[in-house]
Symmetry: C2
Subunit: 607 residues, 2 copies
């Protein structure tokens, strides 16, 4: 408990909840790291695909990057409309549920949940890659570094939203500044053609190109680069977390985020193209660019550490999104109710821990390799983009209202654009692993529906009917099974007698002599409770007891039967194996009997 307090801090009162709202500056740090950090690997993923068609194909990285920039702009404009329309938070699930119905909503929810887990895994893997680029000796330990990072974020998040925001704001801004400086200096030099000597474009290995430069290959590089756009929906989910006026502040933060994202992404792509940088297995593209721009001095290390922090913090935004989505789903009955439980610190502890667990699992399965994870990534996000935009289109068509035609066109463009991107991603990545995502989405939807139908069935079964009346009082027969007379047994008798009802102690006669001894002791200690001695020809204590209970249940089909068990509670856990084995069997046998209630009366041992 003390450890928990130290790690996650003191509990917070409900009244304080309003003060947990985020200023724009804090919100930008918390919500933008997810999307901005993707510049650390998006360009690299584009180059990794294009290089398959030889170095000449690398020139295509510029048009591909521009296409992705176009996506960023479209998404920014369309999401601003969602932010204003859903000030309570307009995640894809909510927008789809209120405009398109249950099935599209569940698809969006499942796709998003999978992508939250992937965001954590990909970001942490890429963050670790930034560090191992700078310190190659750590390359062998990248899995362990990733796991430690995830654990760190989990603990930070259990401490609560605002504090983690504070904790994360400084490094976020620091790394954005460092990356911006690199892009500005690098781009300026590339136009001035001064300073750094340009290395010649080298050919790829002895074999040269491995594939032809087909349209499919270009689309594949576009799909890989779409990882840059992931995380743009985060702000629309969290409008409620902003200070009032919430929508206004959120929309502005969104624009800022997109401007930073777009310029860094295009800048890095341009520099990579201009300086002829190629992806290497053990050094990231950003690391190579930083070395070119600043040499291997302090500035280089600032960039690398900054990138790493930004990426690790990106994982953090998923830790806000995932538990939030889970809690909305839990309130709608699609997830276990406990997912909707506030933790001590106003955050959704269960969701945070589940997300952390699955992200660690994924990291271990894919051995902490960003490139191995990328094929699974982005598809979920784009499915949810498309569903939100389609939902908004439907909304304007049904609701109409002020300027609805203009708004319809904006979201329509968004829906069509993201729809096309989704199809491209799905088709080009399908064989590389996206099929796993489709399977998982299907499995999650099945889980959601199973859980909901169970809760519905429960609600029907426990619902009180209007015309029913409260039950009349019934008889209660209390049975205390005893094997001897000692303090634990007398304690149980004392307890049973302290409440009303007909109390009987029951002894199973296994050994005549012992039975006689117990009967004599009972006369002194039994507090006047009658002792029933039951014969047991088969020496089965359990069987004889069960028969007795059954018999009494049949005698009075209305009555309750309470079985009061004297239970010895050992002082140490391993001592449990030496006690109460019979009580355990009895509990198992009685659990499914209607009208039978079990009560343990613990006797606490001190040694």
């Amino acid at each position: 408990m003390l450890l928990k307090r130290w790690l996650v801090g003191d509990p917070i009162k409900t009244a304080q909840a309003a003060h947990e709202r985020l200023s724009k500056r804090l919100a930008l740090a918390i919500f933008s790291s997810n999307s901005i950090s993707s510049v650390a690997y998006a360009t690299e993923e584009i180059l990794l695909v294009l290089i398959l068609a030889g170095t000449a194909a690398l020139a295509w990285s510029i048009p591909v990057s521009l296409a992705i920039l176009f996506l960023v702009i479209v998404l920014t404009i369309s999401y601003r409309q969602i932010i204003y329309e859903y000030p309570q938070g307009g995640g894809a699930y909510i927008v789809a549920r209120s405009n398109l119905g249950e099935m599209p909503a569940l698809i969006a929810a499942a796709a998003l949940m999978i992508d939250y887990v992937l965001t954590v895994a990909v970001s942490v893997a890429a963050g670790v890659a930034a560090i191992t680029s700078a310190v190659p000796a750590l390359f062998a330990h990248r899995e362990a570094l990733g796991l430690i990072s995830i654990l760190f974020i989990v603990v930070m998040n259990l401490r609560g939203a605002r504090e983690s925001g504070r904790f994360f704001a400084v490094p976020t801004y620091l790394s954005i500044a460092a990356l911006t400086l690199m892009v500005v200096v690098g781009t300026f030099r590339s136009f001035a053609n001064s300073g750094v000597a340009l290395p010649p474009l080298s050919t790829i290995g002895p074999d040269g190109a491995m594939e032809n430069l087909t349209l499919f290959l270009i689309l594949r590089s576009f799909a890989a680069g779409c990882a840059a756009v992931t995380g743009m929906e985060v702000i629309s989910n969290g409008v409620k977390a902003f200070r009032p006026p919430e929508s206004e502040n959120a929309a502005r933060t969104m624009v800022w985020m997109s401007v930073i994202l777009g310029s860094l992404f295009i800048g890095i792509s341009w520099m990579a193209y201009h300086y002829g940088i190629m992806a290497k297995p053990d050094e990231t593209v950003v690391s190579q660019l930083a070395r070119l721009t600043f040499g291997s001095g302090v500035a280089y290390y600032v960039i690398q550490v900054g990138t790493m922090m930004l990426l690790v913090l990106a994982a953090n935004s998923a830790f806000a999104g995932f538990p939030h989505l889970s809690s909305i789903l839990a309130r709608d009955g699609f997830m276990p109710h406990q997912m909707a439980t506030f933790g001590d610190r106003l955050v959704f502890s269960n969701g945070i821990m589940i997300l952390g667990f699955f992200a660690c699992l994924l990291l271990v399965l894919f051995q902490g390799d960003t490139h191995a994870l990328i094929p699974l990534y982005a598809i979920g996000v784009f499915v949810s983009f498309t569903l939100s935009q389609a939902g908004m289109v439907r909304r304007w068509l049904v609701k109409k209202g002020l300027h609805w035609r203009k708004k319809l066109i904006v979201n329509g463009v968004g829906a069509v654009t993201t729809g096309i991107a989704t199809v491209i991603i799905a088709v080009t990545k399908f064989m590389q692993g996206a099929w796993i995502v489709f399977l998982l989405v299907a499995a999650l939807i099945m889980m959601f529906r199973t859980i909901r139908s169970h809760y519905k069935a429960v609600a029907e079964q426990v619902a009180l009917s209007r015309d029913a009346r409260p039950p009349r009082p019934r008889r209660n027969l209390i049975i205390i099974p005893i094997g001897g007379v000692n303090k634990a047994v007398i304690r149980a008798v004392d307890y049973a007698r302290s409440r009303g009802g007909e109390v009987r102690a029951v002894l199973i006669d296994v050994d005549k002599e012992e039975t006689a001894v117990v009967e004599i002791k009972w006369a002194q200690w039994g507090c006047g409770v009658p002792l029933i001695v039951l014969p047991s020809p088969y020496r089965s204590i359990l069987g004889a007891l069960l028969d007795y209970v059954e018999e009494n249940l049949e005698k009075d089909p209305e009555c309750w039967i309470t079985v009061v068990l004297p239970e010895i509670l050992p002082a140490r856990w391993w001592q449990n194996i030496l006690h109460n084995q019979r009580a355990l069997l009895l509990k198992g046998a009685l659990l499914f009997k209607d009208r039978v209630v079990l009560t343990d009366v613990p006797f606490h041992l001190t040694r």
Copy 2:
């Protein structure tokens, strides 16, 4: 349950217990397989050691075998005295406990328990070796064959003693007969020097002898051969299982067993020496002898299958001894009480299953190889032999009585002989693995003593003092924590009200609106039970409840508090994850509070 009945049969009444006694013929089958079966590997183990000094050293197998025969004779005579002196069963533990004190008794018990497990593992491994000698294709599957055999014996034993005796009698006698026939025919031919051509003694591999023929080596071969004597104590443990006059019948059975054991063992050793048989990794000595005697026809296969059955049945006698010893230890408080519980079929089910588990574990650890297990074997048995004989010596010195000097000399010779053998075994096998046995003995003794001291502490803590009086009736406050009003809650209220005491429903106010709804519903459905609404500034339902319980405990330092929890019992196990998570936390928090008793009132869902 049905499966259990089909596997282990119907329960048996206590009154039938007397009829479970064994006739001499059945007893010989059940108790002798352990010792007689060791002829299947004892000679081989002697040869395996001697061959290290080259083929000429093999001649030493005859004097070594004669020394072991001498041991058999000494043990038979001394154990007869134990059988008459302890008609209730005189295992080493009982003899040592009543004559030498607790520590020697525990050493004997620990040594015996380890040897029971080893008996099962060694016998089954050797039995499987008999089969794989005949069908080499099965050699790769010897682990699996061993595990299946152990499982088979476990199930047979759970069916009860007499039936397993019947089941085992026929194959036991069959295989003794087959082995006897082989020894008679083989020995006759060896003296007649007719029939089979003697193969020349071949030298061992290209290197020849690997060690010099030292006294140590000869003693090592003696120690290895001592495996032949294991199991001779089994009858003295089980005198009670014989029909009256128990001691008379047991003593006669013991003599029969020793005669069969001694003649088979010496016969096989003689044949092996005479025909120049050497141990091979994939064919047993007995298999080679059988081939020489009968060729590879039907008679050969009868010998092999018979040996296998005898060995697998040998494991069976450990399944009588181990649970029996455990139950005696359990009655003395050195083992968990549940080990003393009769199973349905008058056998000690817990012990049978534990023995089966550890034997399987050992078999897997040593990959089903007899030779790998042998160094651990016999040491435990000889420690217990020595302790029993020493105990008897002490007994005659203290008790005296009729012919006590003669009896003293018999057991004295037994004690000295087995003592010397024990030292030889311990010294020669120590480095080969016997040290593990010593460690395990120490660990088991620690376990015995820890368990006993715990039970003692418990007995002291629950003991009723002579001058104390039965407790006076106390107040009982019943608290029903509710989160809403439904059938499950009303059921709990109905239950609580059916007994006396002051009943209160408690609602934690997390959401004002919801609280108001519950209050209105409660007016209709609450059966007149007052509803207490508790504020919870930290939204912690658990914390507010615990505070309330604590407060009431302090208000009246005498009263009981009963927390009645409405619990939803799902129809399927996986649905449990969707319910009662909060109840579980509450239970955990209340378990260690004195004077607080928890009662679950289950509401059974049907779908």
